[in-house]
């Protein structure tokens, strides 16, 4: 093998400039592949982490996926008379018998659950009025399923338990009304008059819409204000393993009947978009490497053309066609290996630079750094793709070289 390697190296070094051009194509291809891939995968992972960490893994709401079947339909499934235009019974919205259903969900392994009553309300202060989302919660259980407690910048969520007329508001809302901890604001709902409530906590998530409109009060207080005694309309669930959410949601929905939506289902469109984005990204960066492999093909084809006599003389000496093929495949392998190694180094340097760039995402209140993923998988993918492109590019010239018939060349030699 060393003999064939020596010949391969001799060929490559004899055409230094052309080899350098081919090599730089592979180096740039691998480096860009790595930089783009790390950014795309980084943003995807960052997005998924935010999705999984900041939202409920499963949300059970007081809705049904399909209209409930009527008792008469169940009793006379093959009846000659059909039932149509059934008007549902008017009843208080919310999950019926939520305590029993809550107990069932709590009995599932690896599941934490918080009952919530969500409704619309308005904050009234100093003659101004602003629409808000009012969530009635039990602070203790909410902390088990949400990261909101970590986002409190003033006061605490637990203060709600000590102060039944307390309210926790977002930083955006607090700034809008210029209210802080201990100030009293008026809160009105469609079913109640304006009720004075004391600000006992302020949170900031960085998501401006959420910080401007979301508020938390005690569950019992919300039930009174929204006129839904003993009702909740959401169960928010967090799982030990977020990726089991789809299966657990299906099981819950089958058991209690209410619509249970896993985070995967809720984000299906986004996940599809991410997948399409990845396909586009890998196609584009792979195209760079494919173009680079044409450079290698060109270099090796030129070498084969120039070295036809050498190939003929080697074969006349007793070299096998396989030896000659291996020489040219080795040339592709050498360019691929050196190109990939240098490309990986430059790619890592690019990633380092990218990870230091801070940007402000529209809608966010703080600067964030470009999310760069450092996973080993992408290095392997870049190197493997570059190497295979180089070997494929070397294969055709290698095959041609292996087919050189010495007599044809020696006869024509002048």
């Amino acid at each position: 093998m060393t003999l064939r390697l020596d010949i391969a190296l001799a060929h490559l070094t004899s055409r230094r400039r052309q080899t350098a051009v081919s090599l730089s194509g592979v180096v740039l291809g691998v480096a860009f592949f790595l930089a783009v891939s790390s950014l795309m995968r980084g943003s995807e992972k960052d997005f998924m982490k935010r999705l999984v960490d900041n939202s409920a893994h499963i949300t059970v709401s007081d809705e049904y996926r399909a209209p409930r079947e009527q008792p008469a339909e169940l009793r006379w499934a093959d009846g000659a008379i059909g039932i149509s235009n059934v008007k549902p019974q008017t009843e208080t919205r919310g999950i019926r018998g939520y305590r029993q259903k809550l107990e069932f969900i709590e009995s599932l392994p690896g599941v934490r659950v918080a009952p919530v009553l969500v409704g619309s309300a308005a904050v009234v202060f100093a003659g101004r009025q602003e629409g808000i989302t009012l969530s009635g919660v039990i602070p203790e259980t909410l902390k088990g399923v949400s990261t909101i407690d970590d986002k409190i910048v003033e006061g605490s969520l637990d203060a709600l338990a000590a102060n039944p007329n307390g309210i926790v508001v977002g930083k955006g809302l607090a700034d809008k009304f210029n209210v802080g901890l201990g100030r009293t604001v008026g809160v009105s709902t469609p079913n109640s008059a304006v009720r004075p409530m004391k600000v006992v906590g302020v949170f900031r998530t960085g998501i401006s819409n959420y910080d401007d409109t979301q508020t938390f009060v005690l569950l019992k207080r919300a039930q009174v204000m929204l006129d839904r005694p003993n009702r909740v309309n959401r169960f928010i669930l967090q799982l030990d393993d977020a990726y089991e959410a789809r299966g657990v949601a299906t099981r819950i929905e089958r058991s209690i009947g209410y619509k249970s939506v896993s985070w995967q289902e809720a984000s299906e469109d986004l996940v599809s978009v991410l997948m399409i984005r990845n396909i586009i990204m890998y196609s584009v960066v792979s195209a760079i490497l494919v173009v680079a492999s044409f450079g290698i093909y060109n270099t090796l084809s030129t070498i084969v053309m120039e070295k036809t006599r050498d190939i003929a003389i080697m074969k006349s000496m007793g070299f096998h066609a396989r030896d000659v093929r291996v020489v040219f495949l080795l040339e592709g392998f050498i360019v691929g290996t050196i190109g990939s190694s240098l490309g990986l180094l430059i790619g890592v340097a690019l990633m380092k630079v990218l990870s230091g760039i801070a940007i402000r995402v529209p809608g966010a209140t703080e600067e964030i750094f470009l999310p760069v993923w450092w996973g080993a998988e992408q290095y392997l993918m870049a190197a493997a793709f570059a190497l295979s492109s180089c070997l494929v590019a070397a294969y055709l010239p290698a095959r041609k070289a292996g087919r050189v018939h010495p007599v044809d060349i020696l006869r024509g030699a002048t």
Binding site: H11, S14, R309, I313, S316, M317, G318, F319, V407, A413
Partner: protein
Amino acid sequence: MSVVLRAENLARRLEGEVPVTLVDGVSLEIERGQFVAIMGPSGSGKSSLLYLLGLLDVPTSGRVWLDGEDTSRYGEDELADRRLGKLGFVFQFHFLLAEFSVLDNVTLPMRRLGRLDDAAAQARGMEVLTRLGVGDQAKKRPHQLSGGQRQRVAIARALANDPLVILADEPTGNLDSASSANVQKILRDLAHEAGKTIVAVTHDGAFASAADQRIGLVDGRINNDWRPG
């Protein structure tokens, strides 16, 4: 003396719109240690016969025996192995690999054969080069040598694996008269002193006159009455 190379009714035809017969029914025997010159007019099939005898080309019909082995049953790789171990080639042009030093060019066939380790191959390469008077050029590249020196290096490369037969195709065709005489002497000495069998195609009457046996070839057939004009 034993027969080292034997051809029986050897023919080589090129198929095509106008079929061409290069070699037509040639039978011959060449004994070990003989210096044989193949002569004939241009286009008479001398080189084609040499390629067939050197297992570089496959006959359309007929057979070649090398060292008692019938080579007609061999495939491409087996023929290459026989060329590597038992034959050496010298061409009109030296065909040395430009990227390698003189010594590396000579050790190339030895490294491919793999009988000697690198150090032994280098030592043998130096020995052969010195015997041919170019030992002091070992580290140079082919382009730094004169035409005669290059051809001597090419002969050294042909001798690298200690072959039974050296096949030379117009080995002096591209040399001045002094270099030509030198190469002629080397080949004759290899036959008479080292016991190598030399089969050389030549146009050169003086070169042929030094041979033990002369084979005339006209229109692909043996014609020993042929004389250079």
